[in-house]
């Protein structure tokens, strides 16, 4: 049975990536992986290439490291226009939801409809035996609609920029990761999803 396309994982630590991507580029790295998957491999921007689409002064919080989800939306929208593919925009859905579903329900609906999702959260929820366990703090990961059942529980394929490869993670842990940051910051779950569905191979 055909499954969702998953492109080669891009790490924020890949050779040639800038110092700012290496130190604070988790959100735009997740966006770069999402563009690859959503385009079915036709577009493969590096994290640095996506980062160039937004000037520092245009960020919602230029005094803090990294990007917000509105920043990612703006940069991916510019990339999408330049590419001639509007589906490559990662829309910030923190408050707008997806097809009338919000929060975790919105993410579930996005995955059910083939969307690649970018989620900001607290990475201390991830198992210490994984590459993700090397960093505890505010973070962003990309989560593919590709899933499987392991030990009787649903896992999703994730692109964590601090990891050398993509990997599987339990949905429940992904929720815990997103929830911890949302609760700490007093916001809804922080997430975005691409406008187009990831194609199947």
């Amino acid at each position: 049975m055909a499954d969702y396309y998953t492109g080669p994982h891009q790490s924020q630590y890949a050779p040639g990536q800038s110092a700012v991507t290496r130190s604070a580029g988790c959100t735009w790295t997740a966006g770069a992986n999402g563009i690859d998957d959503t385009s079915g491999g036709k577009r493969k921007p590096t994290p640095d290439a996506l980062h160039k689409r937004l000037a520092k002064g245009e960020e919602t919080s230029p005094g803090t490291p990294g990007w917000s989800l509105p920043d990612l939306e703006k940069a991916t929208h510019r990339f999408a226009k330049a590419s001639g593919n509007p589906g490559l925009t990662c829309v910030n859905r923190t408050t707008s939801g997806f097809l009338g579903a919000y929060g975790w329900a919105g993410m579930k609906k996005a995955w059910a409809n083939g969307r690649y999702v970018v989620i900001q959260g607290d990475s201390d929820r991830f198992a210490n035996n994984t590459c993700s366990g090397k960093f505890d703090g505010d973070h962003a990961i990309g989560v593919s609609p590709k899933s499987r059942v392991a030990n009787g529980k649903v896992q999703r394929w994730i692109n964590d920029g601090i990891c050398p490869k993509g990997r599987w993670e339990y949905e429940a842990i992904i929720y815990a990761y997103a929830k911890k940051l949302a609760d700490a910051s007093g916001t809804p779950l922080r997430w975005g999803a691409f406008k187009a569905a990831v194609p199947k191979e």
Binding site: R43, R53, E58, S83, A105, G106, N113, N129, R167, W168
Partner: protein, 59 residues
């Protein structure tokens, strides 16, 4: 690739925290019903017109 390892209690606790989901939220909508208007206001692009890519062959 290392599979994530959690204790049964850790996974059970995480599962217990998941919000209840309406089955309608796990359904795929009909093709075309998931299209969205372009409402992003992104101002003037600051990068070159042609996106940098690796290995890709374009849209």
């Amino acid at each position: 690739m290392t599979e994530p390892t959690y204790t049964d209690d850790e996974l059970a606790a995480a599962e217990a925290e998941l919000p209840p989901i309406d089955p309608a939220d796990t359904e795929r909508v009909a093709p075309g019903d998931d299209t969205e208007a372009d409402e992003v206001d992104d101002g003037e692009d600051v990068a070159d017109d042609i996106p940098d890519d690796i290995e890709g062959d374009g849209a």
